[in-house]
Amino acid sequence: MKSGREGKRLFSRREVVGTVWGVSLVALFGQFSGALFEYLKPRIPAGGFGSKVTAGLAKEFKPGTVSYVQSGRFYISCLPDGGLLALWQRCTHLGCTVPWVKAKKLFMCPCHSSVFNPEGVVVSGPAPRPLDLFPIQIIGGEVIVDTSQPISRDKFDISQVTRV
């Protein structure tokens, strides 16, 4: 056995070649995984799924009411003082569509029973944050909502409200 001679070297030839093979295979596999990931990664077009949606004339929204804008998948909530919020209909818990229950003046999610008030704030249920907002602009008396960028928030504050 040549082990005596080999013992003096730090690495035997076999170890070096074996390691090189191993490392190459790992690198090849890594490269393959990276390529696979890039291949499968969705190319989501900039601007998300939505565009600018005209919700209607500002004066149509009466204080203390909530109106549904189906084309933009959001609610215009007109607060008692007349300020406007555009609330995305998507539950912040796990993404169900939250209906407005007029009789109770609350948004009530059917999936895990989260309840939101007209400001979108969680009243009860497992949702971790208030309903997401879309930015509102009022141009020539019309309410224009930009649905491309939902804004998530931790709590309601007055700066989120748009006034005419």
């Binding site: 990931f37 499968l40 990664k41 969705p42 989501i44 998300g48 799924f49 818990h93 796990l94 993404g95 169900c96 999936c111």
Partner: protein, 258 residues
């Protein structure tokens, strides 16, 4: 034996063609009974001899075999459904209505696929429960337990991806909620979710991804894993059985399972 009268099938079973297919004689003696098992690619997943105790119904309840049978049923009915199903947001739901209403036995085929899927999840879970309580995961069967855990996850994955395909309200919201859970995984959640859905929400991209996973990727992985699983059962000496009763009898697992 050779004195016996020739079987009436002898002209067939002793023909050149038959003997080129099957390399064993009639399995009425130990040698040929072994050869039946070892010379057939499908049967050779079995051991040649099995322990009596492992055949006891109240020991394994046949749950692993039942899972495998249900997997077979699912592949068969699934391929039949594929002849009519179209993985498109516009056409998936109409295709299902078509299968149910105008394809002969279509509704029945769909029922078989659906109920087999539910039953398979149940069978696989119960199989795991039985393997656990009988200590079947202990050495030398650790690896096969891991393959089993993989199979459990694959089975759940196949059920989950299949659930979206009818594109009805039940599918849509179950998958919306399910994939949103993935979004809560720390760090990689958002990436995992969009990788699964192929977009920001459940839509055409999600449907085609789930379809591909459901009809190609997951079944192929499952077939591979089931083959490894069954082969390993044999290599690990058949089912784990209690050999402490045969005191002094040093018949190990190795003796049985080759």
């Amino acid at each position: 034996m050779s004195v016996q009268t020739r079987s009436r099938w002898a002209p067939l079973t002793e023909s050149r063609v038959w003997r080129s297919f099957f390399r064993h004689g009639p399995p009425n003696n130990p040698l040929d009974r072994s050869l039946v098992m070892t010379s057939n690619i499908f049967l050779h997943l079995h051991p040649v001899k099995v322990n009596r105790k492992s055949l006891k119904w109240s020991y394994s309840f046949g749950l692993g075999v039942i899972s495998a049978i249900l997997f077979g049923t699912l592949v068969f009915t699934g391929v039949l459904l594929m002849f009519y199903y179209v993985p498109s947001v516009e056409r998936a739901y109409p295709a299902l209505l078509n299968i149910q209403v105008s394809v002969p036995l279509g509704q029945f085929t769909r029922n078989m696929h659906r109920w087999s899927a539910h039953l398979m999840v149940l069978a696989v879970i119960l199989h795991m429960v039985r393997v656990f309580y009988t200590g079947g995961y202990k050495p030398p069967r650790e690896f096969n337990w891991l393959v089993g855990v993989g199979l459990l996850l694959l089975t759940l994955g196949a059920s989950f991806t299949g659930y979206l395909l009818p594109w009805d309200q039940l599918s849509y919201w179950a998958i919306t909620v399910g994939t949103n859970i993935a979004g809560y995984v720390p760090l990689v959640g958002a990436a995992t979710k969009s990788l699964l859905l192929g977009g920001p929400e459940v839509g055409q991209d999600a449907l085609i991804r789930f379809y591909t996973l459901h009809i190609a990727v997951l079944p192929v992985l499952m077939m591979l894993a089931v083959s490894i699983h069954l082969w390993r059962v044999r290599k690990d000496g058949g089912l784990a059985i209690n050999d402490s009763n045969d005191a002094g009898d040093k018949v190990g697992e190795d003796a049985i399972g080759n």
